[in-house]
Symmetry: D2
Subunit: 313 residues, 4 copies
């Protein structure tokens, strides 16, 4: 029996979607819709929530909005699933302040990127995580997203941080599947250390390789699909895993419906998730944070077609 | 029954390693060793050979050496498995000349990258493949290796080339597993179109996702391991697939043994493969093409340890 | 007579160094030293101050520290020179909040980057600057620093923003001297529009090409040198310009003294400026923000040698 | 008196344009037009010719075409100016073969890039240049063009090669003006070592900084303009330098006339140079090598307008 098919005692594993942030047409955070998203996700079987991630438009939220989102999700969750929260700031001191704020508002653990806007070397990246961990007093997960931070978390740094208990896991959105597999192999001896993939369409391979969980933006739309895939993997039913992944990969094409000249790549994905949730009756509006464009009627119609062809509508 | 478990009529599928080019200590191509590599691979169960790929040090070979390598492999193979050959040149006219030369010397199909050194746009990349195909009269495979050519094969271009029968398949060494999966899904309706991964340690996930073959540099060292993995996938035994992949991923750590200050990343991988083949008694010397450094005694000892721990020595 | 030799009515031109942020050995912002830096710069002839730039370690400062720095500099300046302040946050809404705070504390104009951590397209970048300008009510300068934000300010966007009066100028730290020259040529017809270079060692060429000012981190160390260069350019004495630039380029080698394995590129430059200011008696300590390493005794000695050989010690 | 205003004994200095390769409408190399280009350049006052550079479409030429171009230029030149020739191949052994061929056909010196398609480290790059120099027996210039080779020539490697007499100079097309200035300063003590800029619109600044020459693709169109600029710099007349540069920068906008969706960035520049030379009556046709698109009538008309407004038509 392989590790992937073993039930583990990990606190954080399974399906942990990055919760989107609904906005009303007037631009304000729509807390009623956000509460419905929380229910939609937990009803779909997710095993945790990632609050204030990139899919939550965290770089676009003011501090007051970040606090409102955290408070709303924590309140609605009511302890049903663990809450990981992004402490998303440029560098160490700011991350610590942000992280403490989120813990005070209900976060169980924090998700921390490499420094950004700053130009760091490997030693600084390592010291950054050590200083944050020492200051915040909860589990922290390294979020490896070089397309946004411009710095890949070096594998040797990740390993030292893992072995020293500084980080409880890694959320990998690096797009580097070779380093992902190497991280899995190199940390296999650490009980409880968790490796999550952030890439929606390669979860089957990640699970076969031993990944402990998935943080899919698309999980906002179809949490139950990801849960079925993770359960099938735990049961060793890889044909079912792949079949579910193929369906979810087809669903993921909603992110390619927007006009690339008008809508940026970042806005296209999040806008598609929001539009799908409007179509599913979960949220009121697909409005995006300034300066991102919202999806229009033609794009909404294309997304509805895909939802229908994948069994969601 | 999924596509991955269906026997296909594909001419090119399964395990198609990029054949390394042994050199003697004096720097000349060692054809006797090269012939033993061919036997080692075919005895190991490979279903094709990729001649003059990056792992064959093709950018380092003179034209005379390229011809010698092609002739030697074709002669020793004697038609046992199909031969794909790299037509590795900067742009269209040069690729065509190189490709024709290789077909004349025995290549069954050609492997063609996007233009390099040149600065191309998508339209030029598409025209490049169309012009090469029109000129060479054999199957061509697109080799997507942006780390070397500095240009990712755009997915829409690949699809048009696939649907128009210009390319018979893609060898993906892009490191972009999301686009790899999207290519698989988008070409699933094209009978015979072949998608290969070039990444040694994520073959399990690629096969689960429906990949038709693997072109592993590490396959020079352990062709039988990759063949077992592909066969297990065809039989739907994913636990065996993963177990074999885990062992091969451990074996792959031979490429991390060299001193990075002395040996470049490119030379480290190829040097490790050659050193392992010396230790396995297949080739005479681990000499590299100028200006790459060859691996030393300490690095050789480290590689021997890994070969032992993975059952090869 | 060329534009470069004409006295202009620009509010912002000449030498506008990005003010460093001194810290005490205990890590707190050292306001007494910061006040001495302000005097050192104004006594050296600078024509403006750039507060809370990258050289001011802005991504490392907490909000309270940013306010303390802004207040301290504004107080000590007492209106002697105009103050440009960085409104350095990820995206639009956060930049607006930060900018308003800085204007309230005394900033005359704001310096705004393209969005970062976010993944933006050209339309979003343009809307970002328009939204910030509409909200803050003071002059804004676009700060083009793709090495940090991962997004080059597109030339056509910059031109539209310039022609529409959205931005009053550009601070270019893109390292792309061709686009810098093109921006100068394309905005030459806009009276008052200001183009500054942020690169310390190519100011001579930038001035010859018509640049209106320089924002040199090294100007913290030798403001008078940069002032002499700008004055010589205004007088058309290009031999003097080049001679001064050669001396300053030699002085700039202080940034290459730190051990690259220990000190990151970012910390090396700022640490060298701080160390030089300690040696010049302007600030108390060369301490850096966490997690950046401070320069050590050997590096300090090397910097002292360079200060001596360039006439500063 | 500064170095820039001193007459030097350098064999290679001044204006050394990379000669374009005219093609007839049928795609063949048009040697009659090429001979007229040679005369046009020498009549314009150039002090050398760079044969088979990127502007000569070298990656697009077959070996037979490369030999034809080299032979044609050498024959027409008849020893009037020195000939630098690109030995443009992926790695060491291939560069040596190519270089020897060009020397046999009349090249006085060779221009050599870092290895490409290969993935090299600094040690390999250094050994590459040393091995080429040892084999070819003529002066070699390092051509630093990371946008094409994907590897910046490291400054410390360039310095060691310069001090050991391996390279006679550097042609810098790196777009990194800071490293360009540092190279100038660091090699100022080496008599005869030559640093050339390849960037058409920042030659004024490069000359002010002490550059010894310029290798401008645009020099195919207006060699006399570049010669005037270099002469003005030697005379210390920097107002004239800048005025000439401003005019040439305006002329350079011909490269931005093509439709970017149809014509790649590479093809746009070369196509614009060719189109201008057709308009000037120097060559017969503006045909490009496959797969690059040639400029059309609308683009030609736009270029004619620019030629008129800059005094060439």
């Amino acid at each position: 029996m392989t590790a992937a098919t073993t039930a583990t005692p990990r606190t954080y594993s399974g399906v942990i979607p990055p919760v989107i942030t609904p906005r009303s047409a007037d631009g304000s955070v729509d807390t009623a819709s956000l509460e419905r998203v929380v229910d939609h996700l937990i009803d779909g079987g997710v095993t945790g929530l990632f609050v204030l991630g990139s899919s939550g438009e965290v770089p676009y939220l003011t501090n007051a909005e970040r606090e409102l989102v955290m408070t709303t999700i924590a309140g609605r969750n009511g302890g049903r699933v663990p809450l990981l929260a992004g402490a998303n700031e440029q560098t160490t001191a700011r991350v610590i302040e942000e992280g403490r704020r989120m813990v005070d508002l209900g976060a169980d653990a924090l998700v921390v990127t490499t420094p950004y806007y700053a130009l760091s070397n490997a030693a600084e990246i390592e010291d950054h995580f050590r200083a944050v961990k020492a200051a915040v007093g909860v589990d922290i997960f390294a979020y490896d997203v070089p397309i946004r931070t411009n710095a890949k978390l070096p594998l040797d740094v990740a390993l030292r941080l893992a072995e020293d208990g500084v980080i409880a896991g890694v959320k990998d959105s690096s797009g580097d599947d070779v380093s992902f597999r190497r991280l899995l192999l190199a940390t296999a001896h650490l009980p409880g250390f968790a490796v999550f993939t952030g890439h929606e369409v390669v979860v089957d391979g990640a699970l076969l390789g031993g990944a402990h969980g998935v943080v899919p933006g698309l999980g906002n739309v179809d949490p139950a699909g990801y849960r079925r895939m993770v359960d099938a993997a735990a049961a060793g039913d890889w044909a079912a895993v792949r079949s579910e992944q193929d369906r979810l990969a087809k669903l993921f094409t909603i992110v390619f419906t927007p006009d690339a000249a008008r809508v940026s790549g970042g806005a296209a994905g999040l806008g598609a998730f929001k539009t799908a949730l409007v179509l599913l009756g979960v949220i009121e509006d697909n409005a995006m944070s300034t300066p991102m464009a919202s999806l229009d009627d033609a794009e909404t119609a294309a997304i509805a077609d895909i939802l229908r062809s994948t069994g969601l509508l």
